[in-house]
Amino acid sequence: MQSVTFEHVTKYFGQSKAVNDAHFKIEEGEFFTLLGPSGCGKTTLLRTIAGFYKQEEGNLYFGDRLMNDVPTHNRDIGMVFQNYAIFPHMTVFENVAYGLRARKVSKKEIEERVMEALEMVELGHLRDRAPSNMSGGQQQRIALARAIVIRPSLLLMDEPLSNLDAKLRIKMRSDIRKLQKDLNITTIYVTHDQEEALAVSDRIAVLSEGRVQQIGLPHEIYSYPSNRFVANFIGTSNFVHGTSGQYNAATGSAKIGVQGMSKTMKLTSSYEGEVLISVRPENIGVSVQRGHEEELAGEVETVTFLGEKVSYGIRLADGQKLEASVHSVEPRRMLREKMSVFVDLRLDRAVIFDETGKEAVYRASQDDSSAGLETA
């Protein structure tokens, strides 16, 4: 078990920064996920931790130990790759025993530990088979056993599930999560799949263009994205244009206006001007009759029935389009296309960004939401 600290780590590829000033700490025993679209630098960061790349700037620590010049084979890590990277010329047993043999562990102990690891991934019965003809799921289990059998201080996983089919992916990810908690190994997990990240992680770092955009608990990242990129990348968001004005320094609140409707809200910074309001589809209220003042008029354009929910495409009076989803309504109560509706953006649950979308000026705080839960 080991903590990992990045101190202003920057890694260049040619002129561009593949990792740009990574500066954060991964705690002992944590399941930490690097999440982002392809090319965001998540794999580069992972490979820098592994020592396959060396950062040009900044320092990397495992615990208190400076790792900059420690070669990979001395870093005491276990690594799982996207394409399994099984040694094709060895049996299942030999694959898993490989790291132990390199550590000069006694024969008897190797036998015990390999079998223990194979049992953990439910492959004990295949120990003497050649791995080449096994399924992707089985190969990835071998790779997992091979990585954990050495009891590494750090487990690195580079998109381990993305070559597997959807059903297997869901089973494997909960297996991995359970294994990690049982063994209590600090784990750094790279994925581009936000659902996977939300499901397995203790904390998530969202990356884009080499920069860490936000680090937080899964539900924080989802509910309170710190900028437009995160809001857009995690889940689905509607972005509505609005304005912020009449900022009151004493109360810290301003008037947020959308299409004639306005609401006074407490901002995190003194911002006036154009704003971008991010609203999750499930947070939008849709009704046929006007409920209160803050609702906006619109028209249903599309109706998509998705089983457990219905998704409506709605065009507001000024032409902006929204997606709203409503949970399992009875079919006869479903709205139909061309119907006039009233939309409640529920601004208090939204996240409001400045004009550029880079910084949030309003986020419903966690305390508010938990307080809301209690009263509900």
Partner: protein, 560 residues
């Protein structure tokens, strides 16, 4: 914001921490290349600029430009190489087309025989055609007995004839590879547009395979341009550049190393120019093909099928005749150098008694060379593929140099470089092994890089992450996985090493003579029986090696 300095400072990059195993390998390979390719090449060039009194001058080049004797040799070289390439294309392309597109019979057999005729010792073709069509050849004699006098094989036409038959397999192999993977929908598109079969071939198929064809043609041209044995044996008065370089270097009247160097430099310039010309042409005419739909083999009616099979077999048979002749000749009974009726093992008895050292030398030098070539070749391939940088790109270019250095030239350059202190190697077996490695390692490197490109890099990273250092990881995982791929190139390195003549003839002396130079001297002293016996040993070794490779690699195709 301004981009900061990207590279770490020089002292940091050269510090000991970055000197892992591969850093050292890179350094050692560079030392080897500098010592045995770059340094000899520079010595060669330097020598070419001094006259016999050791004074700097351009006299040698002026001589070359003004004396007809030298200019003729250059012209001869271009003439025989050009004609041989032309005829090789004329034979190789139809052979490839017929065997890939029609259901002719005996394809497998023909394929093996064509490869055999390619990898046979380069001068054995010349030698056995002398046995058949020389002044005292048995076909010549037979025809003379029935009253027909034919022109003997000696001379320019003989050289072109032998080159063509020996080297058309390059064209055949390259073109049949291309024809098998061509995207046939392009041909079908042409057909649907109303093109006749012949016009379609000319306007669609041939242009599409042009890059491959030109690569094959380059191989033929380079091989015939650099070849020493064939023109030496049957050229007689018709001298090409490699012969002239050799004669200038090892002359009974005391060699003229400077002139030999000058000729060598000219040779290198010519081959380099041709290499770049081919690359330039191809770079402008390269088509990427998806090759999703590969062509079907056309089923012929019995008569055309029979005729095409017969024609193809005839070509293959003629090109395999030299091997057969040599083997038969080696068993003919003889008294001294004179042949008698009947068969015996006299020739074999004689070589075992007279030149056992040559046989031992060939195998010891070749085995030593191939072991080094495989080990070094795999390491170099690893650096080239996995440690890509400007440094390794430069290494790749230097490794290309032996391609443009004819064997004779390489031999001469090594002698000039190592016949004086600080390093004296002339007259030792070491210099032969070095020459073999430098000349033949490209085959091994090429097949090693090919297999390495297919291997998943993560496998070795997995090993390193599990605590096994990079060097050990290479030998425990990567190297083992490379073996099947490396084998196909290593076998070529091996086969061409045991048959090597053109640099050996410059570098050997009495005690380090190999089979190939012994054959050469036996033929020159008209000991055809012993020469044939030695050649048969080489042919047999070649055949066995190829068959082993064929079965070990488990591939249906031998790619040369």
């Amino acid at each position: 914001m301004q981009a900061k300095t990207i590279q770490a400072p020089v002292w940091k990059r050269l510090s000991l921490q970055v000197w892992d195993f591969w850093g050292w390998v890179t350094l050692l390979v560079y030392v080897f290349l500098a010592l045995f390719i770059v340094y000899p090449l520079f010595s060669l060039m330097a020598t070419s600029f001094y006259d016999e009194n050791g004074v700097f001058s351009f006299q040698n080049y002026i001589d070359f430009a003004t004396l007809k004797y030298f200019r003729n040799a250059l012209w001869h070289s271009f003439a025989v190489s050009g004609l041989a390439t032309f005829f090789a294309i004329l034979i190789g392309v139809p052979m490839a087309y017929v065997t890939t597109r029609y259901n002719v019979r005996f394809k497998g057999l023909m394929h093996i025989m064509i490869i055999m005729s390619l990898v046979s010792p380069p001068f054995i073709g010349a030698y056995s055609w002398i046995l058949m069509l020389g002044n005292n050849g048995f076909i010549t004699n037979f025809l003379r007995d029935i009253g027909i006098h034919i022109k003997s094989i000696y001379g320019m036409h003989g050289i072109v004839f032998v080159f063509t038959l020996q080297l058309y397999p390059h064209i055949y192999l390259y073109v049949s590879g291309a024809l098998k993977t061509i995207d046939t929908s392009l041909e079908e598109a042409a057909e649907s547009l109303g093109m006749s079969a012949w016009k379609r071939l000319r306007t669609v198929t041939l242009p599409l395979i042009f890059p491959t064809l030109s690569a094959g043609a380059l191989m033929v041209f380079m091989a015939s341009f650099a070849d020493f044995g064939t023109p030496m044996l049957i050229g007689q008065g018709y001298k090409t550049l490699p012969i002239l370089a050799y004669e200038q270097f090892i002359s009974e009247m005391g060699g003229n190393a400077a002139m030999a160097s000058t000729l060598s430099v000219v040779l290198i310039l010519c081959t380099t120019m041709i290499l770049f010309a081919q690359r330039y042409i191809v770079s402008r005419k390269n088509y990427a093909m998806s090759g999703m739909r590969t062509p079907k083999v056309k089923q012929l009616r019995p008569l055309p099928k029979f005729l095409l099979t017969l024609g193809a077999l005839a070509v293959v048979s003629v090109s395999i005749i030299p091997q057969a002749t040599v083997i038969v000749t080696s068993f003919i009974k003889k008294k001294g150098p004179v042949f008698h009726k009947g068969f015996s093992l006299d020739s074999y008895r004689e070589i075992l008694f007279r030149v056992p050292k040559a046989i031992i030398n060939t195998y010891t030098y070749s085995i030593l060379s191939i072991v080094i070539m495989v080990v070094v070749g795999m390491l170099v391939a690893y650096i080239l593929v996995r440690r890509k940088s400007k440094l390794t790109a430069a290494m790749d270019s230097i490794l290309m140099l032996p391609y443009v250095m004819p064997g004779t030239v390489l031999g001469i350059s090594l002698i000039i470089a190592f016949n004086k202190p600080p390093i004296v190697l002339t007259g030792t077996w070491i210099i032969l092994v070095i020459a073999y490695i430098v000349r033949k390692i490209p085959y091994t490197i090429r097949s090693s890089t090919a297999i390495l490109h297919q291997l998943d890099r993560n496998v070795e990273e997995a090993s390193i992450s599990l605590g096994v250092p990079p060097a050990k990881t290479f030998f425990k995982t990567t190297a083992r996985l490379m073996v099947p791929g490396v084998a196909s190139g290593a076998i070529l390195s091996w086969v061409t090493t045991i048959n090597e003549l053109s640099s050996t003839i410059v570098l050997y002396f009495g005690a380090t003579a190999t089979i190939s130079v012994t054959i050469y001297s036996e033929v020159f002293t008209s000991n055809y029986g012993t020469g044939a016996a030695l050649a048969s040993i080489l042919s047999l070794t070649t055949l066995v090696s190829l068959l082993i490779a064929y079965f070990v690699s488990g591939r249906k195709e031998m790619n040369v």
